[in-house]
Amino acid sequence: MRIPPGPLEFTRRTWIRLVLLATFAFLYAPIATLVAYSFNDSRRNIVWRGFTTRYYERAMANDGLVEAFGNSLLIALAATVVSTVLGAMTAYALWRFRFRLKPLCEGVVVLPIVIPEICMGVAMLVFFARIGWPGDLPWPISLSRITIAHVTFCFPFVAVVARARLSRFNDELAEAARDLGAGEWAVLRDVILPHMRPGLVAGALLAFTLSLDDFVITFFTSGPDTVTFPVKIYSMVRFSVTPEVNAASTVLIAVTVTVTVVAMWLQNRTRPGAAP
């Protein structure tokens, strides 16, 4: 006998299933197409001509593309580390201390999130030109301009996530630690930082993915010798959309998804079933 769906068993109602299906199709059809056509055996890449991995090989052999990918990864890693440290410190300061103009400070910290990226990009371009930041530095240091630009829009995200996490901190934990003999630093190290950790991991992930695929701000701050992956793909697309572009994009998707999954797995493993 078929049991009719209960009031909260939404996934058993046909129309909701259809809406769910449509939503997922809407979200993932373009990405699925992109990935599928990276295996398309056709230069023009408009109609399906058969399966091949040739364009992955060609992407690997494209020195410019590989270099851009390396640059992107390096920038993303550096920006993530700096943003996480800065964001954690900002969140702690805004949570722990009371000072004049604190509401203003809280607003200013999140401002880079709402300022249009194009404005940030132009501002960065003008700023670096004005202070005369050298553009002809040797390789890894030449990426510093883009890295600094990325930190400015990544660290507010870390700060916001970490701040939200701290607002759920039970003050009695810090008091208990102090009561047991911990000084201010020991309380921070032993109680507050462990509590912040899930927020910092989430914030760092956000910063990493934001930095890895940023185009607008990077476009304004990159030079001829410091091309990142998104900028490189943009320049390739301007000539023609070959499966090589699809292949490169697929690799980028794979990297971000893998990093996210690994980070989530790490977090679950170290805190088994712990309440947030």
Binding site: N170, E172, L173, E175, A176, A177, R178, D179, L180, G181, A182, G183, A186, D190, V191, P194, H195, R271, P272, G273, A274, A275
Partner: protein, 357 residues
């Protein structure tokens, strides 16, 4: 006896609210002391001032005779059990208990050994590897106790330690806390709003109201000889009769000629209250027995299992009800007067207490 804690003239305000007004208190070494009062009376603030987690606006705190006014919380020889237990969620039970030792420089091996001993003291041997989220409420409570005791503090402060436990466990933990205190011989100061908890555990109790201490006394004295109306009504149930002191020094209740009490040291003509506890009153059906101090009609009977509470109407109006409680010594409920029965009430002369304020 030597003193463990002495506070003098403590004042504390939070904005416009006065939490503590000129509180002075002396707690002896080895004592089980309770701070009792309704929520918002300042008892937790006083405890936190002793711990160093809060700073008084005025007044001094001495622990073991040493002024600790300038000593931060992490250097005071006191430890605290928090209401939420405040176990560190990312540390195992053993690390939680050992934390106070580790953070002050004790080596790992020694700290773990002492942590295990402390866990044994609260009967949690073998729980060292567990994480706090795997513990029940009662177990968390014990871990919090072990963590606070492992440093062998001079004074253990307990902030509403039993309020998060269910009723049955609370009864068990009361006994266990008393036994534990006798075993370790450390001064315990407990904050509670539960009068039964304070009476059953503490050697002495301080009753607080709106930032002031109303009375400090052993439980029996607090109950049998309350200092004022607040203490009398806050601890247990009481019948209060408005009265005036006569020329011979006897308090005479106004509408009840039978209700009198001997007053000491209160001037004639003063308005006072005569307090009589419900269980001190004897009750008998009218007729046949000598007239008691009061007569009335049973209006309501509240059955409570071990005892029944009778509300006896002795006079019209809201002040005319007298509360009498009787133990249900027999199994059948019909041996004592039901609603509508005319009864006479009596009590021994010394059961009536005169309260000046």
């Amino acid at each position: 006896m030597t003193e463990a804690v002495r506070v003098g003239g403590i004042c504390k305000r939070f904005g416009a609210v006065t939490a503590l007004a000129e509180v002075s208190l002396r707690i002896e070494a080895g004592e089980f002391f309770a701070l009792l009062g309704p929520s918002g009376c300042g008892k937790s603030t006083l405890l936190r001032i002793m711990a160093g987690l809060e700073h008084p606006d005025q007044g001094s705190v001495f622990i073991d005779g040493i002024d600790v006014g300038r000593t931060p919380a992490n250097r005071r020889p006191v430890n605290m059990v928090f209401q939420s237990y405040a176990l560190f969620p990312h540390m195992s039970v053993r690390s939680n208990v050992a934390y106070g030792l580790r953070v002050t420089g004790t080596g790992r091996a020694e700290a773990h050994e002492r942590a295990e001993a402390a866990l044994g003291l609260v009967r949690l041997t073998g729980y060292g590897e567990r994480m706090p989220h795997q513990l029940s409420g009662g177990e968390s409570q014990r871990v919090a106790l072990a963590r606070a005791l492992v440093k062998r503090p001079r004074v253990l402060l307990l902030d509403e330690p039993l309020s998060a436990l269910d009723a049955r466990l609370r009864d068990e933990m009361r006994l266990e806390l008393v036994t534990l205190q006798k075993t370790v011989g450390i001064t315990f100061i407990i904050v509670t709003h539960d009068q039964e908890e304070a009476l059953s555990m503490a050697d002495r109790v301080a009753v607080m109201e709106t930032g002031r201490i109303r009375q400090v006394a052993p439980p029996a004295e607090l109950y049998e000889a309350p200092a004022d109306r607040f203490v009398a009504t806050f601890i247990g149930q009481v019948n209060l009769f408005p009265a005036t002191i006569g020329a011979d020094g006897t308090a005479q209740a106004h509408p009840f000629p039978g209700v009198t009490a001997r007053a000491r040291g209160i001037g004639a003509g003063r308005q006072v209250w005569i307090a009589v506890r419900p269980e001190k009153i004897t009750m008998a059906p009218r007729g046949g027995v000598p007239a008691g101090r009061l007569s009335g009609v049973v209006e309501e009977v509240v059955y409570r299992g071990d005892l029944s509470v009778y509300l006896v109407r002795c006079m019209a109006g809201p002040d005319g009800l007298v509360r009498v409680s009787r133990a249900n010594a027999a199994r059948t409920a019909d041996r004592l007067p039901g609603p509508g029965t005319e009864v006479v009430l009596d009590w021994a002369e010394d059961c009536a207490v005169v309260l000046a304020s």
